[in-house]
């Protein structure tokens, strides 16, 4: 039980949904933009792995989190509820930019969770940090792709 604020289940559901949305988003991008298909599909697979990691970590540590007391109050989930929908009129660079924004926001979310769970079993902050790192890596790859695209345009 938390103090007024979120239950662990609420937070984990939110994180799981972020990963599901990301996975679906990249699958849609893969269909819409053949030039980035392999990369987007790889990102979709990573998001599925992240979801599994989050679910597993939660199921394996929830008893500790309850007994130790976790602290997710005052967390503003709306800040991180980014829209993960592909819009029909996007160009490929638009898609890369939207994906990059999504990844950066999600990385911030996971880092905040990691920081708030430092007092819990090490497994918990470590999982959130791993997912944050995966998100940052993807943001970096997207940024590089965007730069490469700009370079080829000039």
């Amino acid at each position: 039980m938390t103090r007024p604020g979120f239950t662990a289940s609420t937070i984990i559901n939110f994180a799981e949904k972020l990963e599901e949305d990301a996975s679906r988003f990249y699958e849609q991008l893969a269909s819409a933009f053949p030039q980035g298909r392999e990369t987007f599909l790889a990102f979709a697979r990573e998001a599925k792995k992240s979801r599994a990691l989050i679910s597993r970590t939660y199921q394996e540590t929830i008893s500790d989190a309850i007994e130790t007391g976790f602290s997710f109050e005052d967390l503003d989930l709306n800040r991180y509820a980014a829209e993960a929908t592909v819009t029909g009129d996007w160009s490929y660079p638009d898609a890369l930019r939207a994906a990059m924004k999504l990844e950066q926001e999600a990385a911030r979310f996971y880092l905040e969770l990691a920081s708030r769970s430092q007092s819990l079993l090490a497994t918990i902050p470590r999982a959130f940090t791993r997912v944050a790192q995966a998100r940052r890596d993807r943001a970096q790859k997207l940024s590089s792709a965007l730069s490469a695209l700009k370079a080829s345009d000039t």
Binding site: M1, R3, P4, T7, N13, Y58, Q59, S63, I66, E67
Partner: protein
């Protein structure tokens, strides 16, 4: 918030699991009610004495072969059970919320703690090893073999429908014994689901049996001459009776009973973290936990009267403020932080204690009788967190186990006074101290007569590989459940002294 999907879609009619088969009982059926919605979710039989006999007979028949099964092969069965529990983790958890009322986080925590017992029991080849010594005399060696004993009965409580039988059953069967489990008739579904997994895991018939029912089934188990030992979790009066009757019939017994747990707050405690831990301790599982905080003792060690009054008020205010914000409702709404009492009689009982508290002069600082819920649910089993202030240790609410979301706040001017208050209570299950001082923590763990001690821990729940203690009126028996002690309980130590001519 939308509810998580309920795994029980239609009213189940529960059957006994005996000798690897699902057998319909001849006993009368009673309703199992979801305490949040008040809907009937199952019907459970009050099994007959003959059905208990049949389960014991099946277990007895299975024992010789199971006992001869190598420990590693037994461990493989238990590994398969663990794997199935992981696969069905979510369903098992939601069933607990439906039949008990606890929140989904709490149910998942319970599922995990249950699985941990199974995980530890898979180590049986190491756990069960004996020991030896050469040359105890000229050319003579001596060694100890741990041997299983036969059939054990497990009589389970209503507050942790999934986990509690797993404090015992995995160790018993891993060691080569067979079990007959009697779940609480209020919450029998979790054990039925678990037995489905046992069946799927390929345990030979008769190793693991489940017989539904209430007191008469338990009583029949106590009298059964082919049951070697009993594991019980429940109230102190029943535990004492079980201990006595097991003594008369020569059975081993673990009886984990009632509690009245004291949590001390010292002036040097980290208050925000203490209050957070207290919320879980007092109101987690709606206070229906033998390790729940019951009495919060605010200790004024080293303070003058003025300082103490300010400290006392600060702790009370922070505690009440946090308790008042706990969201109460149906546990399958995962924003909910506290569920209902398990049934309406439980709620009536708790209401009786609250009334007593008022009559005996404690200050009702937070009145949970004014039920406020998240969602539109019948109020039948719900209470909100309740806090009494200025409770004296001899008041009914300060002395007796309430088993509900009611906190009693007490004063103690010194550490010694606080320890005296704890020792004035007949129970000795758990106690905790919140402090930044190693000195007080050490004094506390050294002096306090309780089986489970928390230092800056609100719920001092032993992990599966440690024994679950209990002292005074909270425990009857010698060895405890879980870990190595459970293995010792479920085995006999045979000594062999050997010489070859």
């Amino acid at each position: 918030m939308p509810l998580l999907e309920e795994p029980i879609k239609e009213v189940l009619t529960l059957r006994n699991y005996i000798g690897g088969e699902w057998l319909e009982s001849q006993g009368e059926l009673t309703d199992v009610v979801n305490p949040a919605t008040c809907r009937v979710i199952a019907r459970v039989p009050a099994s007959t004495g003959e059905e208990v006999d049949k389960a014991v007979e099946a277990a007895k028949e299975a024992f010789p072969d199971w006992r001869r099964t190598p420990p590693l092969a037994r461990a493989r069965c238990i590994f398969r059970l663990k794997e199935l529990m992981e696969q069905r983790f979510e369903e098992l958890s939601r069933v607990q919320t439906m039949e008990h009322g606890k929140t989904i986080d709490e149910s998942r925590g319970e599922t995990r703690r249950g699985i941990e017992q199974v995980e530890v029991a898979t180590g049986i080849p190491s756990l069960m090893m004996g020991y030896n010594l050469e040359d105890i005399a000229s050319g003579i060696d001596e060694y100890v073999i741990r041997q299983p004993l036969g059939v054990f009965g497990i009589i389970a409580p209503f507050n942790f429908p999934f986990m509690v039988p797993l404090w015992y059953a995995p160790y018993a069967v891993a060691a080569g014994n067979c079990v007959v489990i009697k779940p609480s008739p209020h919450v029998p579904i979790s054990q039925a689901k678990l037995a489905e997994l046992v069946n799927e895991a390929g345990f030979p018939p008769g190793i693991w049996n489940v017989v539904h029912g209430a007191g008469p089934v338990a009583s029949h188990m106590l009298e059964h001459r082919d049951i070697t030992g009993i594991c019980f979790v429940g109230s102190t009066p029943v535990g004492r009776e079980i201990y006595k009757r097991c003594g008369e019939t020569g059975k081993r017994v673990i009886a984990q009973c009632g509690a009245k747990n004291f949590l001390l707050v010292m002036p040097d405690a980290d208050l925000p973290r203490t209050i957070a831990a207290c919320m879980t301790s007092f109101f987690g599982n709606t206070g229906q936990r033998c390790l729940s905080g019951a009495n919060l003792v605010i200790v004024g060690e080293g303070q003058n009267d003025q300082e103490y009054e300010a400290f006392y008020r600060k702790v009370v205010d922070a505690f009440v403020e946090a308790a008042s914000k706990i969201r109460v409702g149906y546990g399958l709404d995962d924003t909910v932080q506290m569920g209902p009492l398990q049934n309406k009689d439980r709620k009536e009982r708790v209401l009786g204690f609250i009334q007593k508290g008022v009559e005996e002069g404690a200050t009702l600082t937070l009145d949970g009788r004014n039920v406020k819920l998240v969602g539109d649910w019948p109020h039948t089993c719900f209470l909100n967190p309740t806090v009494f202030d200025d409770v004296a240790p001899d008041m009914t609410i300060g002395r007796e186990e309430i088993f509900g979301p009611v906190a009693s706040i007490m004063r103690a001017r010194s550490f010694d006074d606080a320890v005296e208050v704890i020792h004035g209570n007949p129970y000795g299950n758990s106690a905790a101290i919140f402090t930044s001082s190693g000195k007080w923590a050490r004094e506390f763990q050294y002096r306090v007569q309780c089986g489970n001690i928390g230092v800056n821990i609100g719920i001092a729940a032993p992990m599966a590989f440690f024994p679950f203690g209990g002292m005074k009126e909270s425990f009857f028996g010698t060895l405890h459940g879980q870990g190595q002690e459970a293995i010792r309980f479920f085995t006999d130590s045979k000594v062999v002294i050997q010489r070859w001519f």
